[in-house]
């Protein structure tokens, strides 16, 4: 399979890439592991590809916050020690769960986020970590809270003439830890459900929690009811069911809705329990 014809240009700077996006038929390519398959199937036929692969947007800066350049590969994220040190293990674990070695070497966090695939692992970790998506546009840079970023299947808050430049992870309070759990479709490797939980434990109690869920429905979401119940001291298995009941859940002939609702609650519960165990282990 070969993509349809397109014009190709290498961006010389972020501003250059943004200017090129003034053409509504232009599309940015980074690792290309979402876009190239779509172009081969002719599901996407951009007139112009703007290659940002050579721009200096790669790397992880560990300071007051952790700032991840949008071209950072899933492989580099998965191996970065900064996340576990900050209690953000789930972010690295989401990256490690993506595809296989070759896909993690090529795929970038910025490309994944901009693509907005509802079956991607990455959004769960970003939601749990309360990340911000830094985007560059004609008017300069702005940041979008992750809770407002994912809006539907392959639909994000990214503007037409914007590209993702970085993901910013605030460091959680002392005593925090996180975990990502998923059950994958054995054929595709995509998560049927993925859940990331970030908890803060103080005095033996969970004092803060954020839970991100991906793969289950058209938009990755924050399990706010499970968060509230966990804070109120509800058993984890009970809390984990709360957000799934009202969700519009995918179903197909292999994995029907009932099954997916069931495993979603199981996976949310596992993520919360492992995050709590890690937080308690770290505080001893």
């Amino acid at each position: 399979m070969i993509p349809a014809q397109f014009a190709y240009r290498r961006a010389t700077s972020v501003a250059d890439a943004v200017a090129a996006l003034a053409d509504p038929d232009a599309k940015v390519i980074a690792g290309g592991h979402s876009l190239v398959p779509m172009m081969k199937l002719r599901l996407a036929r951009p007139g112009t590809l703007i290659d940002i692969g050579g721009l200096p947007l790669r790397g992880i800066a560990d300071g007051a916050e952790i700032v991840v350049g949008s071209l950072t590969s899933h492989a580099d994220l998965a191996q970065a020690a900064a996340f576990a040190a900050a209690g953000l293990q789930a972010v690295a674990e989401c990256a490690a769960a993506v595809g296989d070695v070759q896909v993690r070497n090529a795929g970038t966090i910025g490309g994944s986020v901009a693509h907005g695939d509802p079956a991607s692992d990455a959004p769960a970790g970003l939601i749990a970590a309360d990340a911000r998506i830094r985007v560059a546009g004609a008017a300069g840079e702005r940041e979008i809270a992750v809770d407002a970023f994912f809006q539907g299947p392959f639909w994000t808050a990214l503007g037409e003439q914007e590209l993702v430049s970085a993901i910013v992870f605030p460091k959680p309070a002392a005593g925090s830890a996180s975990a990502y759990e998923s059950i994958e479709d054995p054929a595709s490797g995509y998560p049927l459900v993925g859940a990331a939980a970030l908890v803060t434990v103080a005095g033996g109690r969970v004092t803060a929690v954020r839970i991100g869920v991906t793969g289950v429905s058209g938009t990755p979401f924050r399990a706010t009811n499970a968060e509230a119940a966990t804070l109120a001291g509800a058993p984890v298995a009970d809390a984990a069911r709360l957000d799934i009941t009202g969700q519009d859940v995918f179903g197909d002939t292999r994995f029907d809705e009932e099954y997916r609702r069931h495993i979603a609650a199981v996976v949310i519960g596992r993520a919360v329990e492992r995050a709590i165990a890690r937080a308690q282990g770290g505080s001893q």
Partner: protein, 163 residues
């Protein structure tokens, strides 16, 4: 889209240690550039959808599925294909390990499997069986049932391939 933009693009790659310059359409996939332009047909096309790993090559030392990389994206990089792993009829240690331990039957997945093994052992010189299976998860074999491949990778590690 002007005619000039869709015109041929000049791409310079170092392939198996030799600098090669190609004038190609931007939509040319790296695997097609290697096989059709450079006659390096050791790199196979299996699924053509970045699932099977038969087209695995190393780009700047890391493994990639060349059916999902545009050749223009690889401009300026160093690419290693199966032809660059051994030298002529002389097998590299990793290839010898696959030969000795029944790491192949039909052989179609083998070039990708060997390059994925090179990457795996570069990252982890002494992987256990779980790490081997995880590291080769992007490469599908329909013949061996994988146990011969796992043995081959263990033998390659013991031969010091990743060190």
């Amino acid at each position: 889209m002007s005619d000039q933009d869709t015109a041929l693009h000049r791409v310079t790659l170092t392939v198996n240690g030799t600098s090669r310059t190609l004038d190609i359409e931007p939509r040319t996939l790296l695997v097609h550039a290697l096989r059709n332009e450079l006659s390096l047909t050791g790199t196979k096309i299996g699924c053509d959808t970045s699932q099977c790993g038969a087209c695995t090559v190393l780009i700047d030392g890391r493994s990639f599925k060349s059916c999902t990389v545009l050749a223009v994206q690889a401009d300026g990089t160093s690419v290693t294909t199966i032809e660059g792993v051994g030298s002529g009829r002389e097998l590299a240690a990793v290839q010898e390990a696959f030969k000795q331990h029944h790491g192949l039957q039909c052989g179609y997945c083998t070039p990708g499997m060997v390059l994925a093994t090179v990457e795996l052992l570069n990252q982890n010189a002494n992987p256990d069986e779980a790490a081997i299976r995880h590291g080769l998860a992007g490469n599908v074999c329909r013949c061996t049932g994988y146990s011969g491949i796992v043995d081959s990778v263990k033998a390659a590690a013991a031969a010091g391939v990743g060190k």
